[in-house]
């Protein structure tokens, strides 16, 4: 069966069936209503709006589609109730506008009318909230517009519209966090889907089953869990729990007791609220269910007993529970975060150096260096910690390069070691790293950069010795250039100056000084003054590295 032309009579019939279908589902839609205000009236409001629309259509019934649509729009506008009702009236106001001056329409007009409806609806809101009836209407209309060019059968078009409206509805919890939290789809969206389903059924001449009137009872246990969830997540300690017992019970009303004490849900709730918090009271004609956190469950139950018998009593000690939850929570690991493309592991000593490395892009800085080499395991752990696809290790010490390479071998991740032998080399390599570049490019650039820099270190001798023909006395400072001792002096600044004298050539432009924990600020200043006088063209940068062992680390480029 196909239908190529839609006229006023058919549209009127669609509207009647849509309205009827909405009506029979309106309780179900009410139950979904948590946004924007969880007052559970969306279905009712939409139904009242639709009813008003239907009344106008009945008055105008004719074969002119523009007139029917116009009447529907007018009825909806006049009878608009609630947020969803107003939005519905706007969708169909635009819809009617799209049919102006038309006797009958084809698929293309229908798609355009749906689209105009969405545009009109969106124009009436400053900040559209996605994940609502607006989104569902938009997605459905978009599908219609997409298909209209090649589809001439109105029934097939409407089938696709309903399908995509449903798909969009299923997606609403992803867009609107409150929906996800409660575990429902958007109520207004559901209402629109229901209307569209009615439209389609009418076109197909199908009977829609009336919805079963029983609405799933509000799941109190889920609500209760939510309360507890909050408590556990909240930053309170067990001692802070003011009301220690989570008390749940039901009162089954007894007629003779009610005659003595007429039951009022509001009064009962107010009275209980003095006895604790997290109060939930849900009542019907036969039973009232109570959930409360209280210090004295007995008192609360005594109050309940005024109206009837107590059933389903459940009392939990929350202080004990809280302790259990907290210790359990501590054990559960956080869900794995998404992997980043690059992770950088480097080795350094001293808080200043660590911060310096972190500032220029290191993901993990392992504490270590000369005399304190991290183990292969330490490096492997750090590699894991980066949670990245490609990990680059900068060992910054010749003694650590091997361990780093071993760690790279045992790692499941893709690990690359740039064999930096000094801190300055590591810094230069890291500065050459670009997160947007391919691994191969980064590898080449970093290796190249680490070779460009000349490294100098000043440290002290722990015993008398003679290395490379240089006699060193215990307690003296040694200047090491590229791993070779080239200077020694009683005073660290002099050792530094002597070392730099060998290291700096006319081609060099930048000197980076990282001073250690044993160096005072005024000592560095004196050294810098001296150096500036000697090397007028040189740019000097100074960082506080707080590293032990090395008084000075120099990078010359």
């Amino acid at each position: 069966m196909t239908l190529e032309k839609l006229d006023g009579n058919i549209l009127a019939e669609m509207i009647f069936v849509g309205a009827h279908h909405l009506k029979s589902n309106c309780k179900k839609i009410d139950a979904l209503n948590v946004f924007p205000v969880p007052d559970g009236d969306t279905g009712t409001n939409m139904n009242l709006s639709m009813t008003s629309g239907v009344a106008e259509v009945k008055k105008a019934k004719g074969s002119n589609i523009a007139e029917v649509a116009q009447a529907f729009s007018k009825g909806l506008l006049m009878g608009a109730r609630g947020n969803s009702g107003v939005i519905l009236s706007q969708i169909f106001r635009g819809f009617a506008k799209g049919m102006e001056n038309k006797e009958s329409i084809h698929t293309k007009d229908l798609a355009e009318a749906l689209d105009t409806g969405v545009k009109t609806a969106y124009k009436a809101v400053m900040k559209p909230v996605e994940g609502t009836i607006l989104t569902v209407a938009k997605d459905a209309a978009a599908e219609a517009v997409k298909l209209a060019a090649k589809e001439s059968d109105i029934i097939s078009l409407m089938e696709k519209v309903v399908e995509s409206a449903k798909a969009s509805l299923e997606h609403t919890p992803e867009l609107l966090p409150i929906l996800k939290e409660v575990g429902v789809v958007d109520s207004g969206g559901q209402g629109l889907v229901t209307i569209y389903e009615g439209f389609l059924a009418s076109l197909k001449g199908e009977e829609l089953p009336d919805a079963v009137e029983t609405v799933a009872e509000i799941d109190i246990s889920a609500l209760v869990e939510k309360e507890h969830h909050h408590i556990a997540q909240d930053f309170m300690s067990s001692e802070d729990i003011e009301f220690g017992y989570c008390t749940e019970f039901m009162v089954k009303f007894e007629d003779e007791k009610l005659q003595e004490n007429p039951f009022s849900e509001t009064a009962f709730r107010n009275e209980l609220s003095n006895h604790g918090d997290s109060l939930l009271v849900v009542a019907d004609d036969e039973i009232v269910k109570i959930h409360i956190h209280t210090e004295y469950p007995g008192e609360v139950m005594t109050i309940g007993q005024r109206y009837g018998r107590l059933i389903n009593i459940d009392i939990e000690n929350m202080r004990e529970q809280h302790d259990a939850i907290v210790s359990a929570e501590a054990k559960t690991e956080a869900p794995p975060a998404e992997k980043s493309t690059y992770g950088i592991v480097t080795v350094a000593m001293g808080s200043g150096l660590k911060a310096l490395f972190e500032n220029i892009g290191a993901t993990v800085v392992i504490e270590g260096g000369q005399t304190m080499n991290p183990s292969t395991q330490d490096i492997a752990d750090a590699v894991k910690q980066t949670n990245a696809e490609n990990i680059i290790i900068l060992p910054n010490n010749s003694n650590i390069v091997m361990a780093a390479e071993q760690a790279a071998e045992i790692a499941e991740e893709n690990v690359t070691v740039i064999p930096t032998k000094t801190i300055p080399q590591g810094i230069s390599a890291l500065l050459a790293f670009l997160a947007d570049e391919k691994l191969e490019t980064n590898k080449a650039n970093m290796l190249e950069a680490s070779k460009q820099v000349k490294s100098g270190q000043v440290t002290y001798a722990i015993r008398d010795t003679k290395i490379d023909e240089i006699q060193i006395e215990k307690g003296n400072f040694m200047g090491i250039a590229e791993g070779k001792i080239t200077a020694t002096h009683k005073n660290k600044e002099d050792a530094a100056a002597q070392l730099l004298g060998n290291l700096i050539t006319e081609d060099d432009e930048i000197l980076t000084i990282i001073y250690g924990e044993d160096v005072a600020v005024n000592e560095v200043e004196q050294l810098v003054d001296k150096l500036e006088e000697k090397y007028k063209e040189l740019e000097i940068e100074v960082y506080e590295g707080n590293q032990p062992i090395y008084s000075y680390l120099f990078a010359v480029e």
Partner: protein
Amino acid sequence: MSIEFNMKDGVITITNDVIATIVGGTAVECYGIVGMASKNQIRDGIAEILRKDNYSRGVIVRKEGEEIHIDMYIIVSYGTKISEVAHNVQSQVKYKLHQILGLAVHSINIYIQGVSVANQL
């Protein structure tokens, strides 16, 4: 004016501006609202739509005795049912204030300062 909560460890003071920002922020999310308007249209220009920083010019918080009243000045979109839109604003604002500040307001009076037809089809 401001609203004070007496807590165990001291006092929490919430100024009018905070309430105005919450009220204004909620209102502009409501369907059918085009914007917040200034209370003083003549001084501030005809039905000027307020920017976020100026919501307090369109939201007046009054305290009469223990009761809190809110007056708000809004501009609605052409073609919506104004009474219903305003009613939605009332319930949404009331809900949000209760949710965010734990504040129970006694009344929310809505003044429609304008109808926007500018962006009609």
